[in-house]
Symmetry: C2
DNA sequence: TATTTTAAGTGAACGCGTTCACTTTATTTA
DNA sequence: TAAATAAAGTGAACGCGTTCACTTAAAATA
């Protein structure tokens, strides 16, 4: 059953060094991926060792590192898969004000991630911004931007979308709120994570006054300031002139 | 210079098994504590190995585990020391409305933690609630309650303190907001963590309308619901009857 | 087909945090 | 003072994620 042709596309494979370049390689990668997630989902992340995975998959430990740069990267691959699936699901957003579209986007996200909570909890240290890996580093920028795009769309395509640069800024702020909810959900110790439902209901109640407040003059600046802060604090982007957080030249 | 008397107090030392029971033990513990933090502050947490610390302190690796149950516990001891210092500093809170008292408590906290940011970043995974250790586990309950107490006081002693059970609930919610800001500060990648200043200014702007909103009927229930959610989600406490997050009996 | 090149795969070894059986030193009891 | 007890201190060893020098197998080139 093992074919062995097609090595056309050649150089441009990009990123790391030697990944699955041949068909057999891709098959192995998929096999390791599935085996890993199956064990992690069953036993938990810390309780599953790479030696366990290698043995279960019938390969040597070293081979895992040909396909995944670290143990956590396996779960990160799951997140990337889910974020692609999420992007598909999020296009079905209906017309309406941004707060309703945001809630739809948020609920959809939790529905997609829902069945894989156990493995995903291993990403908390990553979500929360470890050194070089993690959601806010260049490596995973693609996934982040894809999901963030759904929230920017939710804001821009709304019946009450704010104009100018406030629209995209609102979208990015909503994406951050969404990330906070996901983090909460991952940490939620209540049975069946019911406290997350409560949190979303709370958010819902907050969102109506917030959307009214956004119509008063000056509120747009507030949103843009928040957006700028997130980019400076989490992404380490330099402060643009006029952004909050600058010190006045003394 | 080494005295060796006084083993009076005997049994009740509590917690773990064999800690510094003799004077020499306490000296050694302090020595290891200071050496560890000096190295960690200089090189970073991950870059400082226990073998480094042991060598620098002139002891064996194993000895570290007589005084600290884990590497992170060393930094946790620092946090406990700082939280005690914070509790002292926070009593100097002036009279005024709760939003001003809260901002004072928040700023004081960041001032106390400020000089030790580098070691404290190692606590992010802990803050964010790893398994058994961490801020929301019984082991560190004492520090948590001490700091939380300052925020509850800030609410209860305010000129506009809400009555009934809403007062303490507001205090606990403000403590959670404070924790979120501290987490943000630890993750803040901007130069000199300037984005944190911006975040606090944003909070400031939000707090005035919030304190007005708290006066309308029903807002107290909102605060109590938020408080209940935090306790269920983060602490895993059971939902009390009447709390949000319960499912209606079907 | 024989030869070279590249990808797939191995398993021992490393450095880390942590544990443990053990020795040394101090304190209490006889 | 001598024996018994408990705390202080040691260093080898363990299990983990990760790395590396290496072998095997497949594809490209001759």
């Amino acid at each position: 059953m093992k074919k062995q042709g097609e090595a056309k596309e050649g150089a441009k494979r990009g990123r790391g060094r030697p990944r699955g370049a041949t068909e057999q390689g891709l098959e192995t990668r998929q096999h390791l991926y599935e085996t890993s997630l199956r064990l992690i989902a069953a036993r938990g992340f810390d309780e599953t060792t790479l030696r366990d995975i290698a043995q279960e998959a019938g390969v040597s430990v070293g081979l895992l590192y040909r396909y995944f740069p670290s143990k956590r990267a396996i779960v990160l691959a799951l997140y990337e898969e889910l974020s692609a699936r999420y992007a598909e699901a999020a296009v079905k957003m209906g017309v309406g004000p941004w707060r309703e579209r945001f809630l739809f986007a948020l609920r959809t996200s939790l529905e997609v991630l829902g069945p894989h909570r156990e493995p995903l909890t291993a990403l908390v240290p990553v979500l929360v911004g470890g050194k070089e890996e993690g959601l806010f580093s260049p490596g995973t920028a693609f996934s982040r931007l894809r999901v963030q795009g759904a929230f920017v769309d939710a804001a821009l395509g709304a019946t009450d979308a704010p104009g100018g640069t406030t629209g995209p800024a609102l979208g990015r702020v909503l994406y951050m709120v969404h990330l906070a909810v996901v983090l909460w959900w991952l940490l939620d110790k209540s049975p069946r994570q019911r406290a997350t439902d409560g949190l979303i209901r709370l958010l819902e109640r907050l969102l109506l006054p917030a959307s009214l407040a956004l119509k008063v003059p000056g509120a747009g600046a507030f949103v843009r300031t928040a957006d700028a802060l997130f980019r400076q604090g989490l992404l380490g982007e330099p402060a643009a002139p006029g952004d909050a957080g600058e010190e006045p030249a003394s």
